[in-house]
């Protein structure tokens, strides 16, 4: 198990910068927003928490399509499925590796990008908290989507179509926390909901992912 | 016979037209595909039976 985690992390680093790329996407997206909606700082500051959450979500999403596909293409997944480790823990480890290489760096860099978008001072803390609680759910749900579409060439866009609706509750509560935090309002309810979703998803979804993966290996 | 729809005539009529067109399209497409499938399957079954 540890071996699998270490291997995945190592692969992520070797593949040209590892988590650097997720971060870069996040950064570029944040930079493109002022280009597309215009540079008024009041407008930017009011959409900043939402844009940052959306950017983090998309950066997660984009790194999903190779989460299992590479292992499937070169036959590693066949071998892992016949190895003495339950497939449930394989997918959990994969989700964890994905979070460590994508979600966590996004959380850490989000405050910096908040500066670019004029995020109100009160918002930084809540932005980080909400991302920290929410991104694990994004990784786990994404792993489920990746397991569904593994083995489909050009599965990338299908993956987005399947995963994005599943991301809706996490996004709503996460962005709500960040938005309320930035506006200096009460955040307890959405924060609890966000934490609840993350916990439930981590506890239950790996079983679905493993089941789906077994079907795809046939 | 046409009832007086008042100032909302366009609204009501466009809603009816859009819905009925969608429903009709669904039914017709279903029937068309069903017919075609039936024909194709029969042809295939006959062909296989002839081949033995």
């Amino acid at each position: 198990m540890i071996a699998l985690l270490l291997r995945d992390l190592k692969l992520a680093f070797r593949a040209g910068g590892g988590f650097g790329l997720g971060l870069a996407f996040f950064l570029i997206l944040t930079v493109l927003v002022p280009f597309s909606v215009g540079p008024q700082s009041s407008l930017l500051s009011s959409i900043a928490p939402g844009v940052l959450w959306l950017g983090a979500l998309l950066a997660c999403l984009l790194s999903l399509d190779r989460l299992l596909a590479l292992d499937w293409e070169d036959g590693s997944l066949d071998l892992l499925a016949t190895a003495p480790v339950p497939l449930e823990s394989v997918v959990t480890i994969k989700a964890l590796a994905h979070w460590l290489t994508t979600g966590l760096p996004l959380v850490l860099v989000a405050p910096l990008l908040g500066v670019l978008l004029n995020l109100p001072v009160a918002g930084f803390f809540w932005l980080v908290i909400s991302l920290l609680l929410g991104t694990p759910a994004l990784s786990v749900i994404g792993t489920f989507g990746a397991a569904l579409t593994v083995g489909l060439k050009r599965g990338g866009l299908l993956l987005s179509l399947l995963v994005l609706p599943l991301y809706v509750p996490t996004l709503i509560f996460g962005a709500e926390v960040a938005r309320r935090g930035a506006a200096g309002m009460e955040t307890t309810t959405p924060l609890l909901m966000l934490a609840g979703i993350t916990a439930a998803v981590i506890a239950l979804l790996p079983f679905a992912s493993a089941a789906v993966l077994r079907v795809n290996l046939r | 016979m046409m009832p007086d729809l008042g100032k909302y005539a366009e609204t009501v009529l466009s809603a009816y037209v859009a819905s009925l067109v969608l429903l009709a399209a669904l039914v017709l497409l279903s029937l068309w595909r069903g017919r075609r499938m039936r024909v194709q399957l029969n042809e295939l079954e006959d062909r296989i039976r002839q081949d033995g």
Partner: protein, 257 residues
């Protein structure tokens, strides 16, 4: 007949051949009765009901909007049940019925969205608002699209059945979650569920007589839509069964060669 024997008798129709024979027998009834109900209900509603004093003639949209909206949700529910039956009892017909129902659900969702949007223009002054009811319909539409796209994308029919069924299951949970999330996110303009208290919907005076004016044709339309749904799903399931057999025979013929 004992209860278990009855249950077995039902499962017997999960055999594709029996299903085809049985559905062929009952289909004419459903087609005709749904056509009748729709013609009667819509004609009554369109031509023979009065305008609402506040909404004017736009209230006539209700005869399409509400039945479509009801079916849009319940189609997904039916797909969920059918998917569960496939996952537990592995009856092919049930999962094919889910597959056959999905496009019907999509069309119903689109009708609800389109009639709603058209209705919204005079009532709320906008085609679209991010009201929770409307928003969750949009999300439901996305779930339908994902489900259909997954069916289309996978070659192996049994694998596709398994994967889409799990997606339907997981998707249902998330759809319910989204519904709560959206409610929390934005309180809306749309009226609450009140088919049974139509006067509250129309805002007309609250006497039974007036509400019945709208209520009976609406009820007939709903029945018509439901019958149409049943007919379509039975018919399309038959098509899916034939398509499945067609592919299997074709593949076998090629493999044998």
């Amino acid at each position: 007949m004992t209860i278990s024997a009855k249950a077995n008798a039902i499962w017997a129709y999960a055999n594709p051949k029996k299903f085809l024979a049985a559905s062929e027998r009952v289909l004419p009834f459903f087609w005709i009765s749904s056509g009748l109900c729709l013609v009667v209900g819509l004609t009554w509603g369109f031509f023979f009901t009065p305008d609402d004093y506040r909404q004017g003639s736009t209230v006539k949209i209700i005869y399409l909007h509400v039945p479509a909206a009801l079916l849009a949700i319940n189609t997904w529910f039916m797909m969920l049940v059918a998917s569960l039956i496939w996952l537990i009892r592995r009856h092919h017909v049930s999962v094919l019925a889910a597959r056959a129902a999905a496009p019907v659900g999509v069309v119903m969702t689109v009708i609800a969205l389109v009639t709603g949007a058209i209705w919204g223009q005079p009532m709320w002054g906008t085609w679209w608002a991010w009201d929770p009811r409307l928003t969750s319909f949009l999300i439901l539409f996305l779930f339908y699209l994902g489900y259909i796209a997954l069916w289309e994308a996978i070659e192996n029919p049994d694998a596709a059945a398994d994967l889409t069924s799990v997606l339907c299951l997981v998707g249902s949970v998330f759809a319910v979650l989204s519904r709560y999330a959206v409610n929390f996110w934005n309180q809306g303009l749309h009226q609450g569920a009140s088919v049974m208290r139509i006067e509250a919907v129309t805002g007309a005076d609250t006497q039974e007589k007036v509400s019945n004016v709208f209520f009976f044709p609406l009820l007939i339309c709903i029945v018509g839509f439901v019958l149409l749904f049943v007919a379509l799903v039975l018919y399309r399931t038959g098509t899916e069964i034939r398509a499945r057999r067609f592919r299997a025979l074709l593949a076998r013929e090629r493999a044998g060669a």
